[in-house]
Amino acid sequence: MATVPLRVSIRFAGRLVCPRYGCRPWTPRVLTADPGSPFHPTPTRVPQERFFRAGHVAPGPILPFKLADIGEGIREVVVKEWYVKEGDVVSQFDSICEVQSDKASVTITSRYAGIIRKLYHEVDSTALVGSPLVDIETDGVQEEVPQEDVVETLAVSRGGNAHQEVKGQKTLATPAVRRLAMESNVKLSEVVGTGNDGRILKEDILNFLSSQTGAILPPCSDHKEQTLSSEAAARATAPVAPLARHPSVPVEGKNGTERLKGFQKAMAKTMAAALKIPHFGYCDEVDLTKLVRLRSELKDAAEMRGVKLSYMPFFIKATSLGLLQFPILNASVDESCSNITYKAAHNIGLAMDTPQGLLVPNVKNVQALSIFEIAAELNRLQALGAMGQLGTADLTGGTFTISNIGSIGGTYTKPVILPPEVAIGALGKIQVLPRLNPWDEVVKAHIMKVSWSADHRIIDGATMCRFSNLWRSYLENPASMVLDLK
């Protein structure tokens, strides 16, 4: 093909005249990279580049990018999705939109680099082949790639520096990114591209480099590190950490307002209703030394039966045993505060931090369950919670709640009662602390702080205190639970 070399040389000539910073406008991506990084072209270098031509000089010509012939005699397509909007900066070969014709989805990629100035079609409207799709404002140094040769030209440029080929695998990267890779001795074939069509971006090279030198720490989803004792670490039952979840935050430096919706709205309404209840708090500390020993003995047996045993099943069962003696804590009071309903079932809720947010599924009828059965049910709820699949049946019907905030951190807290319940307990982390034994010796003890809140309209301090003492005695001396187990 005689015309091919000519086209190639034009490309090279184009490259000589405008080095990488000249061929396209100054993209925001480059500017936001770390100025301290050796690879970042600092703005101060810019004026010294002889051939530099920045995009913020007078705007270049606006070229209409027409819909190329798709083949098979197709004359019109339906625009299904836009990947860009007016004002976006695009590079050559970035995806512009998705069109559909006759059972085929076609990704239309940009022929020019520049700024999108106009979209010619709405989603679901019809576009004719040969008609303009978008207007792109270029900086005037684009060489026109003839439409009908689009396949051959690309085949040729592949021989040049446009695409690196490694063992037949095409690696997409702009010349700027290639140079960065070359300067840092990075093989493009080893980098995973996160751009369109798997294109390797500058960020991908930088991430690859930091992973090589260990500069970035692996994501820490395990908040058990916070507890002082290793057994306490194993106690953690609330599934993975809020750090993994990033609620959308306004752009730095600017105020951002967004409406509360869905889950956030629901939580706000619940808490507004909760704070209508007059709360009082009661706190205490529990010595779990004997429980820690018991659990380590039983853990393996439970594991063999396929169930992960934490401390929560013991706490939950002790709560239920306590509620048998103090049924008013398992009650509900109506809005006008004229009737108390004593609930027969102990449906004990467990506050859980899930990817969706704070959810409180409950274990039904704890009064009739063994510790092993409670552990199995907790495993099931935790698995569903982690997958975001808790259903209405699991989330409603609770009569008492326990929050294991200590798995993330903290000692004493002031939990908020979840209506229509009348009490709630929050457990701090288990700490190993020195305590005096009955013979005045200093010994190592596993201490956990507990904070209760109760509805002062129907519950008084003495009731809460006695319930807490009973609960504490069951946990400080687990053998006593055996006496009252039903």
Binding site: I70, G71, K80, E81, F93, E98, Q100, K103, A104, S105, V106, T107, T109, V123, D124, V151, L154, A155, R158, E165, K167, G168, Q169, K170, T171, E190, V192, G193, D197, G198, R259, L260, K261, G262, F263, K265, A266, M267, K269, T270, A272, A273, A274, D334, E335, Q356, G357, L359, V360, G388, Q389, L390, G391, T392, D394, L395, T396, L418, P419, P420
Partner: protein, 364 residues
């Protein structure tokens, strides 16, 4: 016969000077892994000099086209209940039901060599080699019909900048009962949207016509016919779509394809207008539900219930809470729980609310 995947095979598969056509057979029966593999080849492999045929079979799954509405195309709650995943592929076209009796073929080639009829001819020739009297032919719409009336294959395609792929299914021995139950939407009548609708057609299994036509035989025949087209004779190469080392980035693609935001959240905006019957004082009345959903999230919602069943204020409160949450059962459960906590009700009303919630969730 297929040979086990080895390092030298991979080198051969990727090397420039290798055969102009390669047949790859997937070691996985997971729809997401196989869709991710297709995506990966489309994005990373140079098909200018070498075309690829990728074959796989999947455990039961519903695969909808890129611009379709899953609630319109299949029974989402039933699929969820039966553990049948719903997947959205990157190419356009209609909905297909995959199971181990359904063979999937994907023909990768350069834009220049993209020719769907030629690919379908390879398939029909292969079938006729196995069963010479079989009446199969490809239509203008790129379907393959058996005995001129039953659809045994549907086609979809995706064209990128330099490469293209054409994939089609082939019904060998699929579970037709499961297929029709799953592909029957519960609420299609009430859905109004611009999503691409599927065109239903009577289907038949190849095995019903000729018992020797099982999936393995068909795949082998198509593979050898494909190689014959290039004047070669070679075994298919078995590939593992979970191998991140050989296919860097494929795990991320698999996760993206499984995400709710892709499968359901990518649905073009639609409105659903439906009603369900509830018991009211020993007679049945209707509750109307109208939701507008965009990007998988509820934008507008209204619940109309007869006065004596549920007070309108409650319905308004609940529908107000639903706005902004996703159109999915777990989100509905959270909203509903919060509603009950914030609005304590009498036992009777609470039961009715539970019934209402159940009916709404049964649509999602």
């Amino acid at each position: 016969a297929s040979v086990p995947y080895s390092h030298t095979e991979r080198e051969t598969f990727l090397a420039e000077h290798c055969r102009p056509g390669v047949v790859l057979k997937s070691a996985s029966c997971d729809i997401f892994q196989n869709l991710a593999f297709e995506d990966w080849i489309h994005a990373h492999v140079d098909v200018e000099k070498r075309s690829i045929l990728f074959m796989c079979r999947n455990r039961p799954a519903v695969v909808i086209g890129r611009h379709q509405n899953p609630w319109q195309e299949c029974n989402v709650p039933l699929a969820r209940e039966r553990g049948i995943p719903v997947a959205r592929r990157r190419s356009g076209g209609g909905t297909v039901f995959h199971d181990l009796g359904n063979v999937n073929l994907t023909f990768f080639s350069s834009r220049k060599r993209y020719d769907r009829q030629r690919n379908l001819r390879i398939v029909t020739r292969a079938l006729r080699q196995l069963s010479p009297n079989l009446d199969v032919h490809a239509t203008e719409r790129f379907d393959i019909l058996l005995n001129k009336q039953f659809k045994i294959s549907g086609t979809a395609a995706k064209l990128g900048r330099t490469g293209a792929y054409h994939h089609c299914t082939l019904l060998c021995s699929a579970d037709r009962a499961l297929l029709s139950a799953t592909l029957r939407s519960a609420c299609a009548a009430g859905i109004r949207s611009n999503a691409t609708p599927s065109v239903a057609a009577p289907v038949r299994n190849l095995r019903d016509e000729d018992p020797t036509l099982n999936c393995d035989a068909v795949m082998e025949a198509v593979a050898s016919q494909y190689y014959a087209d290039f004047g070669l004779s070679a075994p298919a190469v078995v590939v593992d779509p979970t191998d991140e080392l050989s296919h860097p980035g494929i795990r991320r693609i698999t996760q993206e394809l499984q995400a709710w935001d892709w499968v359901f959240g990518k649905t073009p905006a639609f409105s659903l207008d439906t009603s369900f019957e509830v018991q009211c004082e020993a007679c049945d009345t209707k509750v109307n539900l109208t939701v507008g959903v965009k990007s998988g999230a509820i934008e507008t919602c209204s619940i109309e219930s007869p006065q004596d069943w549920l007070p309108p204020a409650m319905c308004r409160e609940l529908s107000g809470l639903m706005v902004g949450s996703r159109f999915r059962p777990s989100d509905m459960a959270v909203i509903f729980t919060a509603f009950l906590r914030a609005n304590p009700q009498s036992h009777e009303l609470e039961n009715k609310m539970h019934i209402l919630c159940e009916k709404v969730v049964a649509l999602m």
